[in-house]
């Protein structure tokens, strides 16, 4: 089965124009020449996949663009989407020594994108070992970044990986969940097409719902990689939540990214203040909402989102309401929503409502964005894999779980980090599986 593509929508394309346009060839060379080529570079250390950043940058400077992309892919098969989706301010670019030198860090993300775009546009293939160099067959459950990285690494080294996905498109949050102005779904799919060409097999529409299905996989494959991500977004648990105008942040983002949602109007209230909340709030603005409030139960100084995401949201026109919690959602007579809120104060570690601080917001959509629920019950119950606080317990160095035939990585292990963290997990797990397989044969 081919990795399908999405129809091109020029209006959405324009509304969600890229935050950072790509570099021209000459600008890329100028920027690449600015890199000091540090030894044991801090950018490389900061990257969860340890991309050889100076290595790929200096290849851009020398005009070895294909080698540059190859260098990136050696460490991170999703180098293209990571160049767009990574919060580089707290990763490679944040670690750049230029902060202590001439202040502006090297634009690593844009350089990486420059190399990766050229690679993908030319439809180059990633060199792989001859198929079945290793007699190793692995099922990767979930087609998100962790599974894709695991599968690609196995394939690259001569093993064989099958990715099993319940949805119709691969990519997980890369395709369905990253703000379109950062990473277009079409770009994510292009990247996965490259992985498919490496020989990775995809099974779509194949949710693993029962213990029997897991047992079948155990019979078919040597190892199983769990890259299942997190479950649905958590509910607000307030009256009126079942209204059809209440749509959670991930649903909202997935809907507009896949062309199901083209417009939002009136007033939108996003509840929560993580990076996904901000993505949803910005999306609502770009989809046409006149007023977007972001409701957060704590103070501005507690904001969990990255600083640059907060700044971005303010630029998009999102308004923040601090220390305020939703209490109930009511239907207004003309079809709008009434969101009752209350001011809260923190006493020790608990939040207490302040008397007489009730305030009702008349709005058209409420978007809960207060985190995702765990998705791992089945695994815990039937396959003897330890789950702690909703997260699969796995060795951080290998991704191996208590059940030695199961490895895991990405959000289902770390509780929700970045694409690049998932890629690093998937890669480590693949290497560990190869090592484990070799140990068995030896």
């Amino acid at each position: 089965m081919s990795t399908a593509t999405l129809p091109y929508d020029s209006e959405m394309h324009e509304r969600f124009s890229e935050l950072k346009p790509s570099l021209t060839s000459q600008a890329a060379v100028i920027e690449a020449n600015r890199c000091l080529n540090c030894f044991d570079a801090p950018c490389t250390s900061a990257c969860p996949t340890h991309i050889d950043v100076p290595g790929f940058i200096k290849r851009i400077a020398s005009g070895n663009l294909r080698g540059s992309a190859q260098r990136i892919l050696d460490a991170n098969i999703l180098g293209g989407s990571c160049s767009r989706a990574c919060p580089v301010e707290v990763l490679c670019e944040g670690a750049c020594v230029m902060h202590r030198y001439n202040r502006e860090p090297i634009q690593i993300a844009l350089l990486q994108r420059h190399a990766m775009d050229a690679f993908h546009d030319a439809q180059y293939d990633v060199p792989t070992a001859p198929p079945n160099t290793l007699d190793l067959h692995v099922a990767c459950i979930g087609a998100g970044p962790a599974s894709l990285a695991c599968a690609a690494e196995l394939q690259r080294r001569g093993g064989h990986a099958t990715v099993i996905e319940r949805r119709n498109l691969p990519g997980g949050l890369n395709t369905y969940g990253v703000a379109e102005y950062k990473l277009r779904a079409a770009e994510s799919l292009k990247e996965i097409e490259m992985i498919r060409r490496m020989g990775v097999e995809f099974r779509f529409g194949a949710g693993i719902e029962s213990a029997a299905e897991l047992v079948a996989l155990e019979n078919e494959f040597d190892f199983i990689f769990l890259g299942v991500g997190l479950g649905a977004m958590q509910r607000l648990n307030i009256p009126g939540e079942e209204s059809k105008s209440v749509i959670n942040a991930l649903e909202l983002i997935a809907a507009y990214k896949t062309g199901q949602l083209h417009q939002v109007s009136g007033t939108v209230v996003v509840v929560g203040a993580g990076n996904t909340a901000i993505d949803a709030a910005n999306a609502a603005r770009r989809l046409g909402a006149e007023t977007v409030y972001l409701l957060y139960r704590r103070a501005e100084s507690d904001l969990p989102a990255f600083d640059f995401e907060y700044e971005h949201a303010k630029q998009e026109g999102v308004q923040f309401l601090w220390r305020r919690q939703p209490v109930a959602i009511r239907q207004e007579q003309h079809g709008r929503l009434l969101l009752d809120t209350v001011q809260v104060k923190q006493v020790d570690r608990t939040l207490l409502p302040i008397p007489d601080s009730q305030f009702t917001i008349v709005c058209d959509m409420v978007v809960p964005a207060i985190g995702q629920s765990p998705f791992t019950q089945l695994i815990q119950d039937t396959r003897r894999i330890e789950v702690d606080n909703g997260r699969i317990v796995a060795d951080p160095l290998t991704g191996q779980t208590g059940n030695t035939r199961y490895f895991a990585g990405g959000d289902c292990v770390n509780g929700g980090r970045e694409v690049v963290d998932a890629v690093a997990d998937g890669k480590r797990a693949a290497l560990a599986m190869i090592k484990a397989a070799e140990a068995i044969y030896a």
């Binding site: 540090c38 801090p42 490389t44 400077a61 980090r417």
Partner: protein, 472 residues
């Protein structure tokens, strides 16, 4: 106010400042030279006058370096393609309008006495303040027995210079080619023939590069190329060395007009410190235009004021006595590198340079605990790199994960683990780390008192060095 005037250079050439256009495209026509004088140039050596040539296209190529254009520049253009009459008529005009500026005529004609006598007479009649004999052009003209074909043979140089001196009433400068084993042999011949001054250096034979798609060297002329003359910032060190060689040799030292990669006042000051009376510029003007002379003059003036120099003569040749043969250098002088922890940005280029390019005496051991001593006691680059490449790193998603832990970070802006340390007991004081360090004054080379008196190799070996037969 320091005085930049040049007075009586090479026996009689005056100019308002030492900055002259070299004989090259920027000094091709009277109109150009007058604009250059308006911009502030003190003199110009006219693009070589002789029998007009036919040029090829293209003519120039360059070596770029890390995004900067024209670090080195190359040309296969010949001498003036305009008639002698046109050039001399314009030269007369320039002298009429700019009587106080130096206008030197660069000359190149066939190697016979009559031809040289004739061109010298005509040029001086037109009003040139001096003559520069082009014995240096390395491409094209040399195939016709002129240019560097003359300047590579002391006898030819001497002969033609003597012909010119028979006729000339103005100062005669001989322009030297660097495409020779020892530039002093030609300088001596010129001096013997009575030349009043020298110009050095002309361009170096070069092929600047090859087009990797067509396989043709640049500059490409219908799919082929020819070696050209290399100049620009890249050749300055070669020029400085040759200037020093000439000016330190009593048998060839003459008033010298320095040439070779001069782009700013610093370069000019360096040539003058090695004995040059004037300097000539071409590539920098071809790159940026005549306007660069403003900063050259201002910068030199400010520097002279700062140093207390009133005239060019006050510092001309001051550095000559600082150049000596290796055998005279003090073997007991010792310096070691020191890294300023406050300034270090943690690029660790000094570390890898010392390990792979020097003497393995910079270490990443501030956290583990400093250890001095030979290489066996230290972790090499591959271990250092392996450690960070195998460490598990995660995106710091929460505020507390993003917070810096002072205990791990250390007392400086740069994390302690990334600040290299010099093992002074092993440091040989080679300078390499301080050269690769991108931060000014971060790595300093500090003197260590060895407690030993100065001693040269000459002294230590009792004067039994092998003599270089070429050194007089």
């Amino acid at each position: 106010m320091p005085d930049l005037h040049v007075r009586g250079f090479a026996g009689g050439i005056d100019s308002p400042n030492p900055f002259w256009l070299a004989s090259a495209p920027p000094a091709n026509t009277g109109e150009m030279i007058m604009r250059a004088f308006d911009a502030g140039w003190g003199g110009a050596v006219w693009k070589t006058i002789g029998e007009p040539v036919t040029n090829v296209t293209s003519r120039y190529s360059a070596v770029d370096w890390q995004g900067l254009r024209m670090m080195g520049f190359n040309n296969i253009e010949l001498i003036s393609d305009r008639s002698v009459e046109t050039n001399l008529r314009e030269l007369a005009d320039v002298k009429k309008y700019y009587p106080r500026h130096a206008v030197i005529a660069s000359l190149m004609v066939a190697s016979n006495r009559e031809a040289w006598h004739e061109i010298v007479a005509r040029t001086e009649d037109a009003g040139a303040d001096g003559l520069e004999l082009n014995f240096g052009c390395p491409h094209g003209m040399s195939e016709r027995g002129m240019g560097s074909a003359v300047g590579q043979v002391p006898e030819y140089t001497q002969m033609i210079t003597e012909w010119v001196k028979e006729k000339a009433r103005t100062p005669v400068l001989v322009k030297l080619t660097p495409n020779i084993t020892d530039i002093r042999t030609i300088a001596r011949a010129a001096r013997k023939a009575g030349a009043n001054g020298l110009s050095a250096i002309n361009t170096l034979n070069s092929i600047t590069g090859i087009d990797l798609d067509t396989f043709a060297p640049r500059p490409i002329v219908d799919g082929k190329s020819s070696h050209g003359g290399y100049c620009g910032p890249a050749v300055k060190p070669i020029a400085l060395n040759m200037v020093q060689q000439v000016m330190s040799d009593p048998q060839c030292a003459l008033p010298l007009s320095g040439i070779g990669g001069i782009s700013n006042w610093r370069d000019a000051a360096e040539f003058i410190l090695l004995g040059c009376g004037t300097v000539q510029v071409c590539t920098a003007v071809m790159h940026f235009g005549y306007r660069i002379v403003e900063d050259m003059a201002e910068g030199l003036e400010h520097w002279m004021r700062e140093k207390g120099f009133h005239s060019l003569a006050d510092f001309r040749g001051l550095s000559l006595s600082r150049v000596t043969e290796w055998k005279n250098l003090n073997l007991n002088y010792k310096i070691v590198a020191h890294i300023d922890e406050q300034k270090c940005i943690g690029c660790d280029l000094c570390y890898i340079a010392c390990w792979d390019g020097a003497h393995q005496c910079i270490h990443m051991d501030r956290v583990a605990g400093p250890v001095d001593g030979p290489i066996e006691l230290h972790e090499g680059p591959s271990t250092v790199e392996w450690r960070s490449r195998t460490a598990v790193a995660v995106t710091p998603v929460t505020r507390s994960e993003r917070a810096v832990d002072p205990a791990v970070h250390g007392p400086y802006t740069t994390p302690l683990a990334r600040i290299p340390r010099v093992d002074e007991s092993e440091c040989v004081g080679c300078n390499l780390c301080s050269l690769v360090c991108p931060v000014d004054e971060c790595i300093t080379m500090n003197r260590v008192d060895t407690g030993l008196p100065a001693e040269s190799w000459e002294q230590r070996s009792g004067g039994e060095c092998v003599q270089n037969p070429n050194v007089a």
